[in-house]
Symmetry: C2
Subunit: 138 residues, 2 copies
Amino acid sequence: MRRHPANYNTKQSEAVLACLAKHKDEYITAAQIGEHFQKSGDPVSRTTIYRQLERLVQEGRARKYTFDGTQGACFRYAEQPENEQDFYHLKCEGCGGIFHLKCDEVDHVSRHIFETHAFQVNDSKTVFYGKCNMCLPK
Amino acid sequence: MRRHPANYNTKQSEAVLACLAKHKDEYITAAQIGEHFQKSGDPVSRTTIYRQLERLVQEGRARKYTFDGTQGACFRYAEQPENEQDFYHLKCEGCGGIFHLKCDEVDHVSRHIFETHAFQVNDSKTVFYGKCNMCLPK
DNA sequence: TTGCGTGCAAAGGTTTTGCATGGCA
DNA sequence: TGCCATGCAAAACCTTTGCACGCAA
């Protein structure tokens, strides 16, 4: 039988996805997902978490990011937006927060870069580093 | 005696900086710097490389980046541009190449994000992920 | 002697892989 | 039986830290 994504899942697969959904837009790490399961009284091995995350990314149900972190580089994961819409990311170097940006002006620049500089921007992965409102001096 | 940056350097410090200069705009890793010294017949310990890189970044003579890599997250380093100018980065997800972008339109968006979305963009760290000319389908 | 750069070794992280087990069709 | 998800342990990385040594002021 040809498996469809919909029934290709196991308990842990769904659990990992549910965890990403619960921590919507938080861009959690594999370790954090592990802690989540630990607390919920149903621990899942780190290995399984990584394998499920990899699968979810392959299936287009999760996204993998490499944001600049304070303690070192590591991968972070988030749910794939349901409507497939793309948005830019603002990463605050002060508080570490990650914000979404949906903005026509940026879309315009994205097109401009493609037309003028022959580079096709993948909006959802693009990251503007900087300082958020709260972290700006004064 | 108060040391000045100019005479605060040792052989390895200069060597690391020279290596960054030699691999200009390549955004090399600590490991690659190590290989560079290995090949040149004058090996330097990994520890020293990291320490010199940290110092160079502190002194504003090098920049530290966290680019999304294929084989995992790690830090990459590059010379600080002599004229202190900032530019955006285009990271090709196909070939892994990193390109510089100096563009008024992007500068404009940078200001727009600050004025409208209250987020101050650090231009030199901002990364547009996507596909370069060579890697675009067709 | 004092300060500091250096390098070895070890530690602390994250992520991946090998292998045996167990569930389910 | 056969497939495959699971989990333990170990490996492979990257980066940082502790400690002792040696050079130069």
